[in-house]
Symmetry: C2
Subunit: 358 residues, 2 copies
Amino acid sequence: MEIKDVINTIIKWDCIENLRKLPDECVDLIFADPPYFMQTDWVLLRTDGSKFNWVEDEWDKFSWYNEYDNFCYQRLKECKRIMKKDASIWVIGSFQNIYRIWFIMQNLWFWILNDVIWDKPNAAPNFSWTRLQNSHETLLWCTKSEKSKYTFNYKTMKHLNGWRQEKSVWNIWICIWPERLKDENWVKVHSTQKPEALLFNVITASSKPWDIVLDPFFWTGTTWAIAKRTGRNYIWLEREDKYIKAAEERLSKIEVEHNEVNDLELEVKPPKVPMDLLIKTWYLSIWDKLCDRSWTEIGTVNEKWYVDDWEDTLSIHKMSAKHLWLTNNNWRDYFRVFKNWNLISIDSLRYKYIEENK
Amino acid sequence: MEIKDVINTIIKWDCIENLRKLPDECVDLIFADPPYFMQTDWVLLRTDGSKFNWVEDEWDKFSWYNEYDNFCYQRLKECKRIMKKDASIWVIGSFQNIYRIWFIMQNLWFWILNDVIWDKPNAAPNFSWTRLQNSHETLLWCTKSEKSKYTFNYKTMKHLNGWRQEKSVWNIWICIWPERLKDENWVKVHSTQKPEALLFNVITASSKPWDIVLDPFFWTGTTWAIAKRTGRNYIWLEREDKYIKAAEERLSKIEVEHNEVNDLELEVKPPKVPMDLLIKTWYLSIWDKLCDRSWTEIGTVNEKWYVDDWEDTLSIHKMSAKHLWLTNNNWRDYFRVFKNWNLISIDSLRYKYIEENK
DNA sequence: CATTGATATGAATCCTACG
DNA sequence: ACGTAGGATTCATATCAAT
């Protein structure tokens, strides 16, 4: 089976068997929403006597931890296999399952980047008064290995968060009508439909346009709806007809939206301005005297862009480290140059270079 | 060793050996703050060249996962032994360790009630644009077994939360000066001092006045400061002199505060006044007509304190269930009695009985 | 005295291209 | 793969000095 056969189409199949048919290292992002394993054999009543519609679907009936562990292990193992080298995976769960899941994932040598809390301001209340209202779920954001050069769109997320860096706690409303899918009898199609805002955050934070996104569990297609809208590709594994029908209808209404967020226009990396460039362009001259910020003379820049003090010739980092009594130093703002009767930091020369050479 | 020898005093000892000396089933509440097993073996400098100080203490050094797992397992096992039958335990951690901790606790057959997120609005930022800012920690609230009749002060927590149900996400500031303890050189005494607000929530939610509170790890005594102030007893295990000194000084300044929260005055349970008592004392009469809240007559109370409708004789719960088309019902407020030309709920008769027969 | 600006700091698996 | 050198970066809050 090849990627071109499965991309951007809906294919009805059983999850695990066909996951196994996908080629190695073929997807960039996985969003996995395994069943939650809630052990609710009892009927939970509201205090007014009406029945609370709990998760009671057939897929949530696992009689043993072992069975659940094995279920997740098999799928997560396949996920790891089909992930590209630098892909990342998000797994969502609650206290009933997420701790077991991360234990399984650690055994598979996934590497965790963050555990993210989905804080639900409008979560269902606790009717029994016996515990705290369970108002959050947990997402694990992991890479295939410690060495992965994963995608993280820092600036885009910062932009979406009012220009402050995005935190590990996300305040997002749970899915309600009209976003919530209902069937012809006005019954919700799926008991754990995830809100679009959550998937939007996941996809925006950790994927690029044209990346291939996969959801290995068989839900309502929120993942693919957002993947399509944000201009990502998707592989769609779906098992049950009723879900396929709802999702197809939903997807047909969605068009790709091009904008600065979806197209990652904010992710321009700042240019690096190395010492030799500053010297070549005469922002810094060989034999310029370097001082620290209190006008103490340290040394001069030589023709190899190293710094000479009275006894050593060292890289700019090693030299600042030496004078700070450290073994290494990355303090970019340590050195000053005497120019126009002022002390100017090398960093400000870099900014000047960038400003004047746009 | 007996409880009377260790209660409300500071005892210098090595943690695990002396935990083993405590008798079985002697504490009501445990707050455990194990080392987080941070694997930070590099140096991070701020942009001004200063060093970012994170946890580098010896107590967080473990050779590998199994050593850490064993460390936690030994202590949590002892915790379970010394917990009273209905005691509960809170364990705090972050993604580096909390998933391993819960795996260990599941193997010890602890029963989880909630995982609580401590959302830190003023957490340290992420300096390097590589991940989301890690702005939370996780607490696991567990009982010794599924059958525990643990303490949960629902109404008190609701009161503290603006009369809304307390959630599983707590927004609490990290501990800063002046709350943060400093030594004579103005250096923080401990790298991981927990804020008092967090401990206050834990103790208030899950313990009663005079309960015995234990913290099996050797920190700055925030747990005991709050335990003392809220009128709980404590057992204090401490290892290092510098921590003992700081904590003793801190504790000497604290006095028990009596108020409606600490004394749980809001936790008045709905009165348990059985039907027969209401009838014996003439708050309710045999043959009184029972209605629902819309004046529809349901039936009458008979001499055996059951309810007769036109066809059945059932307990008060089964009867309300029948009329609500349910298999069972615990809605205490369903039935009304026609008295003085008003409909009065049976519950309000119970309150009246309690009020007039104190 | 009020306001402003510089400085300090907190349980964080926190860089990357090149040779 | 690994070592090395060079370059880029943070948020909320509190304190304290300066204006």
